[in-house]
Amino acid sequence: MFSHGSESLIKQAREIQESELQKFYCRLVKLLQGKEFGHETMDSLQRLHLILSATKYTRTLPAELQRRLLSLLSSPVEQLQVLSSAVLRETLPLSGQELNYNQENVQLNIHSAALLLSQAGSRADLSSLCAQLLRSLESRQSEGPSYSLTHTLPILNAILTHSPECLTEDHVTLLSKKLVDWLRYASITQGGGASSGGFFTGPRSRQPVPIAELDGTVSGDFFTVLCVGQGFTEDQWMNVYSFSMLHHWLLTYHSAPSGNTLADTDDRSEVDGSVVSMVSATSSSSRLLPPKERLREKAFQYCLRLIEQSDRKALKRTDTELQKACLVEAVCILDCVCVEDTSLVYRTFPCVKALFGRLSSDLTFARVLLPIAQFYLNHGEMAAVDCESVWKLVFGRFPAELFNDPFLAHELLRFLRLNLGSLQLRVPQYPRSFPNLLKFLAWDSPAVVDDFVDLLPSLVTVETAVELLHTLLDLPCLTATLVLQLRSTCSPISEPGGRGLLSLDAFRSPSFRGLFLYLLRAEAGSGDTIDRLSTLHEFLAESADWPRVVQCSQTVPVLLHIFFNTVVTVADEKLLAHLILVMLERSSLLLNLPTYMKEIHRVFSCHLLRLCKLRPSLVVDQSHELLEFAGTTASVYSKEEIYTHVVWALGEYLSVSCDSRCSVTLITSCFETLEAVLFEITSSTPPPGAACPAPRVVTTLISALAKLASRSHDLIPRVSLFLSKLRTVTRAGSVAWCSDEEDLVAIVTRGEELWSLLKTPGVAQSVLTPPPHVTTPQWHRDTNLSMSLQLRTLTSLTHTQ
């Protein structure tokens, strides 16, 4: 599709020499001077466009050429309009010859309008353009082709997007009236000269044929986008264009009470729902309503009609798709209208409720059900309607069964993000639904991880934090399970070839199915994790190279960071202690993916330290488990990162100043545990298959021992003994447990520093176990420090240099 030829075309266009370019310009001007424009002119113009658009640096055209191109904008040949507009959009307007936005007599076609829009330099330009367009709408110049009228609405919509103030109050009123006409009162007969057929073509038999519905029956009500005919009249076209922009129009001019520009059109939940409508909604004659309110009423009727029309069985598949899109739009518009005028809620809810009932069991309408959920969220409380069944769908069936639909995922997660406040208030099962919601992430991590970065904090609660942590750590397993689930439904019972055989068999076997079903659960609360997690990991070991699983594993560390950052703000000490235990336990219980374990260990280490720093008494509290972890020599080799941090935490925080429960016995037992490990790793070669212990582990162990000794001085001789032995052994030459000489030197140096420090126990104690006021800097609040700071400040102020 994209060939070498295309690449070279672009290259040529970028690298064209200036002289050649000038020659080309001259030739083009000559061509444009002629009366007729043939293929050569078109091709040259197209080539000019390519040359201009191929580079991001703007080229300026010679004035003569630019003038000729401007004149082509109003050429009767459309191709010339298109090409000249495209070329002029890629270059700069001639200085002093900016396009005149106030021209009265130039009839705007869609291509010249595009140029005006793209070169608009200010709000004033856009306002003039608006005024011009509305004038042409009012005067109804019917000489031009029908497009000159129909594309007016799209341009206005484009201007509205950026600058709603370009339309004055009068303009808004005028357009509201026109929109009402087009939406509600478009012709209900077919346009285009359709006749009832037959041999008789006399005027008597040329009766107007009524429009039809999508299922072929004759239409009995006003014209909408879901009506068909052989041909269409102009106002029927305007009906389509009007409806296409209606939602945006209502969002822009009908949401704020005083018609101010809307800062955030998405956050409808913030809009003040107490806007009082001028006339009561039960008014029988809508002709008495002012234009804005009348438009609202007509929009309301249009949407109700669309909802009714969407129940018909369309004859064409594209029309079925359109019906769905119309349902989405209709519900969104009804929502918008009800937010503006809350009295309409009572008229709307029965219809929306009926629609929900009709569609809720059909998953192909899932994307239509999301706007309905938004409607329920916005107005359900006011109408005192039970929304349970809606949430069951949104948090239950949709994630469980449609996790692989990228568009549904995007829209559902967006719905959650925008309504987080309301959901947390009104939907109590929201935080517990994370096992289901995470299925979106497990399936297609790269696409939705951004959404979960925003959503995850709201899912962290005190009751479910531990289960959430386990679920996040097993997210790649969930991915693998979802893959197996899909494969299991699609493929036959026995698969030739054998790919995925072991895990698929396990998934299907009744004895192990429970493990997988736990991962696929819909709600939290049935247990933090399962006992036979290691069995599950074994079965899923072969999924380690499945691309989806790998992609998922790469997003887990990020989410864990967010989890921990959030959980420290809500957790009490008991929960934090539990989390530390989970971290220690799971450090060896993870799906065996190449870099996964290492990354998780890194995250754990970082947060373990943070938790201990935040609540130093945790270390004494959990000393039993931490010592058990630190005493396992195998951890030095398999979990080096975490091990180092646990040892460091023990050395740093196992002291009386951190927690008064810290006894001499505790310090001594910790010392002995660490000492044993240190002896073991420095006296023998590493076990087969393992590399030498990292130097950092050794130095951390030595430092920890020194710190503990400084708090209980009878331990000092033991440390000194070890350190002197270390020095002797290393003087003899290389050792089995350290391969690099520089590392060895560093270790020994550290040992010597500590040894000399420990010769004066008093000093050692204040260096290795500093009192809190030393470690928490006070800066200017500290009378000892502040003197020097004050002097320095005074000096710099008074010193004239």
């Binding site: 495209a86 484009a158 029309d319 994307r367 990228p406």
Partner: protein
Amino acid sequence: MVRCFLIHTVCPLSALSAGDSRLLYCRLFAPEDGLLTGQLRELSPEERRLLRMEKAAVVARQVRSAVSLSRDASGRPPMEALPGEEALALQEASSGVVRLRAGDPFSEEMSALWLAVQSLGFTLVCEPHENLLLAEGTLRNLTRHCLEHLHMLGQGSEVLLRSNRIDALLSRLLPHGQLLFLNHRFAQSLEKDVAAYMAK
């Protein structure tokens, strides 16, 4: 409304670095954001155009990486359709949507819907409150027309040499970035018009 429509490469190119994408067609609708809030007023028109093209390039790169990740994950081998098999190519095309955060690169949050047919991606950047169901249908329709009228399953250089056809197509089906609710009759009428243009 739709902010822009892009056609760009989604396959590795020797001339570019690994994650980069070559823009073959780029159409931004409407005045640029930031124009009226004063952010852009200090910039000259050349700088503004440069900014526009950079923004389009950012979107193309993000879609490119989304496409390649999606293709890796699904593990399906890319199919090669021949000219004449446009409908099949469209059916086999992968699709998705990328969330563009506010500021990256547009000042508000946007949704970039993409359709990847073999080595090219077709992207529609929409404001998120837009009807994405309609946008998806419109994108498919546009892609089908591009594939057919520009013979893109062949050599593919017509995208560059006949971009005016895409402009004309967009002026009917997506005028000034406006998504349209077209039933099959309205669509037929517009498509006849498009075909008449292409025949010239």
